[in-house]
Amino acid sequence: MRGFSAGFYAAVVTRGFRRYATYRTATAAGLFTNTVFGLIITYSYIALWSQRPHLGGYSQPQALTYVWLGQGLLTPMALMGGGFEDELGDRIRSGDVAVDLYRPADLQAWWLSADLGRAAFQLVARGVVPMCVGSLIFTLALPTAPLTWLFFLVSVALGLLVSFALRYLVALSFFWLLDGAGVSQVVWLAGLFFSGMLLPLSVFPGTLGAVARALPWSAMLQVPADVLLGRHRSGGAAGSLGFQAVWAVVLLAAGRAVQGLATRRVVVQGG
């Protein structure tokens, strides 16, 4: 902020996009892995849904759409890590973050822009392809209404904000914990389970399901998937998107508050 225009941050987004676009072999290898896991999970879901049609309110094609969407959103949402947080964590641990704080760019906005660039690339490269592969091999339930796709894109964008905000908080925890590997692992695990990556949250029983659906991680896969499949929570599309927006605002504000606390209170390593 301090004098920097939106154009500056847009440039950071573009650089983030291009940086990840450089790793072509790694992207292809990742796509291969997404496809293999997509196949494995698909067959376990077919076994499950053929015995219990409409489990969790999904028809079998809807459940399979959910699987491939999960593979497509896994990397953009950084559900298994691999975003900016390791880099920022390292800079905090080594003390290099002190230099970043002297720069006239805002720390949170800078990393948000870089991470959005990364996510945008991975959405195109590792999001679209698994969906296409899945729809070629299996019968998926993809919507035809343009408005549904529009809502879906908004939902994905809000999910990316929630994902960034959570990982920003994880990285900032390194100011206090010099070895933050434990924290990132716990958050990473919670993310995998509570986003609905392992099993749709609507299949979770009773209270566990209700709690899981209320946690921020559901904004990263369960909610975008339900928006795409036209299965909204109370309040229709507005309710679903509103849920994500509230978590995004709350977590981004928390990140800002913690950042303020960290820069005022904590003595940076080596200085």
Binding site: A29, F32, Y43, Q185
Partner: protein
């Protein structure tokens, strides 16, 4: 050395080891949640699936503990630090394996053994001496097969330096696949993990024999006992691939 360096931060070690245990436990929680909805999956009951899960998970856990660092080889080839290892008077394979040796990976073994123990107490099997002998046999042969896959994957990284994830799809993906009954997968996929990457010998084929379940491919019965042969063959192939990879290695720079 890596063990001592890990132990320097005991609290962090405890946390990451526990985290690792929880991480792998969540797969099993997912399976239990599935069985909250159905009584059998692909003709297998929960204790039977747990038997598959426990044998594959324990075998994979041992291989991951020993050679799980192998996916870093691509990075070493790229940044040239592999040269340092070539100069030292110790086998390169052992050095790459020992690099960042992560004791926290024991969590996976503990969890696999726990699930295996639970399933053994509950599966409906008439235990004869050869059935009993097959269980540790599966874990040992399985670990050897997974080790061979890790090594072959590392050899592949000499050529494709950025492709560590392909290796993950066979190792972690294979482990996930073996946790489910073979009957639920498409025939081609089952054939692939029997004849191309012989993961079916880790637990599928011997487990079908132990549990007395039919084989979806209708393969000859003696194959159920062929895991040690498959493991030995895998080792020979992986060793050849590794040597070829190492010989083809050209350092970065001049």
């Amino acid at each position: 050395m890596w063990v001592r360096s890990t132990m320097a931060y005991r609290a962090s070690f405890a946390m990451t080891a526990l985290g690792n245990l929880a991480a792998t436990a969540l797969d099993f929680v997912t399976i239990v949640l599935m069985f909250g909805q159905v009584h059998t999956l692909g003709g297998f009951t929960l204790p039977e699936v747990a038997f598959l899960y426990g044998t594959a998970g324990t075998a994979f856990g041992f291989a991951d503990l020993l050679l799980g660092s192998m996916d870093r080889l691509g990075r070493r080839v790229r940044d040239g630090t592999l040269d340092t290892l070539l100069l030292r008077p110790a086998p390169v394979l052992a050095q790459v394996a020992a690099d960042k040796f992560a004791l926290r990976r024991t969590g996976r073994i503990v969890q696999g053994l726990a699930v295996l123990g639970w399933s053994l107490a509950r599966v409906d099997v008439h235990w004869t001496w050869w059935r009993i002998a097959m269980v540790p046999g599966m874990v040992v042969c399985g670990a050897v097969i997974f080790c061979a896959v890790f090594t072959a994957g590392a050899a592949f990284q000499f050529i494709a330096q950025d492709a560590a994830e392909v290796q993950n799809s066979v190792t972690y993906g294979g482990n996930t696949m073996l946790q489910y009954p073979p009957g639920i997968f498409a025939r081609e996929l089952v054939r692939g993990v029997t004849f191309v990457v012989p993961l079916a010998f880790v637990n599928w084929l011997p487990a079908l024999r132990v549990l007395g379940e039919p084989d979806p491919l209708g393969l000859p019965g003696w194959l159920d006992f062929a895991s040690p042969v498959a493991a030995a063959l895998c080792c020979a192939l992986a060793a050849a691939a590794w040597r070829a990879g190492l010989r083809a290695y050209r350092s970065t720079g001049s």
